[in-house]
């Protein structure tokens, strides 16, 4: 089961780009990388998923280097409402057991 390592917390200011990096040295060939966002008193919410290279959607981009041992979630021009905990997890989509959420990164966006 591939475990992940993320910074415990990060600070940013409104309008800045934020990059959160996750390490997953033991990622397996069939594992995908998924990021979730969690606000206080709510369940986590899916942000983005990828396998390799770059994935972009309307809220974020995900950069995955060739060795896939890390990934970076990029949030463009953050606002106060992006203050949340961000979780990186890896898992095998074909042979599901359980996905490891870890402790996440607490992003604090300041005005």
């Amino acid at each position: 089961l591939a475990k992940t390592t993320q910074p415990i917390s990060m600070d940013s200011y409104e309008g800045q780009e934020v990059n959160i990096t996750c390490s997953h040295n033991n990622i397996a060939t069939n594992d995908y990388i998924t990021w979730y966002q969690q606000f206080p008193s709510q369940g986590p919410r899916f942000i983005i998923q990828g396998y390799k290279t770059k994935v972009t959607n309307e809220v974020a981009s995900l950069f995955i280097p060739a060795d896939r041992k890390s990934s970076t979630l990029s949030l463009p021009r953050v606002s106060l409402s992006d203050t949340a905990v961000y979780y990186c997890l890896v898992g095998d989509m074909r042979n599901f057991n359980k996905f490891y959420f870890g402790s996440g990164t607490k992003l604090n966006v300041k005005p």
């Binding site: 369940g43 899916f46 998923q49 979780y87 359980k98």
Partner: protein, 114 residues
């Protein structure tokens, strides 16, 4: 509703009592997961259901914890003889098929053991 629904949203009970937590997954989702989240911590996997298959109980912390899923839909997580360390938010999620992302989460049940 379109999302995962959990009830109650809050539960306060005395140590030693039994509690039941309910999860209504999104209609049509065959996979259902229970997680526990202690204050300021990440999510801890508890149990996973897939259709009518035997559940994966590998994450249950003790034999005081059990869960069932009736008719492939609603699930109940039961904690017997509650202890103070059981205090946490219990989250339920569902997905269309095993391993599918995204998992759709409910907002959890906040359980407080006095």
């Amino acid at each position: 509703g379109a999302g995962v629904s959990q009830s109650p949203s809050n539960k306060v009970t005395e140590k030693g009592k039994d509690v039941e937590l309910r999860c209504d997954p999104i209609s049509g989702h065959t996979a259902l997961y229970w997680y526990r989240q202690s204050l300021g911590q990440g999510l801890e996997f508890l149990i996973y259901f897939q259709g009518n298959s035997a559940p994966d109980k590998s994450g249950l912390p003790s034999d005081r914890f059990s869960a069932e899923r009736t008719g492939g839909s609603v699930s109940t997580l039961t904690i017997q003889r509650t202890q103070q360390e059981d205090s946490a938010v219990y989250l339920c999620a569902s997905s269309p098929a095993p391993g599918d992302q995204p998992q759709h989460f409910g907002d959890g049940t906040r359980l407080s053991i006095l």
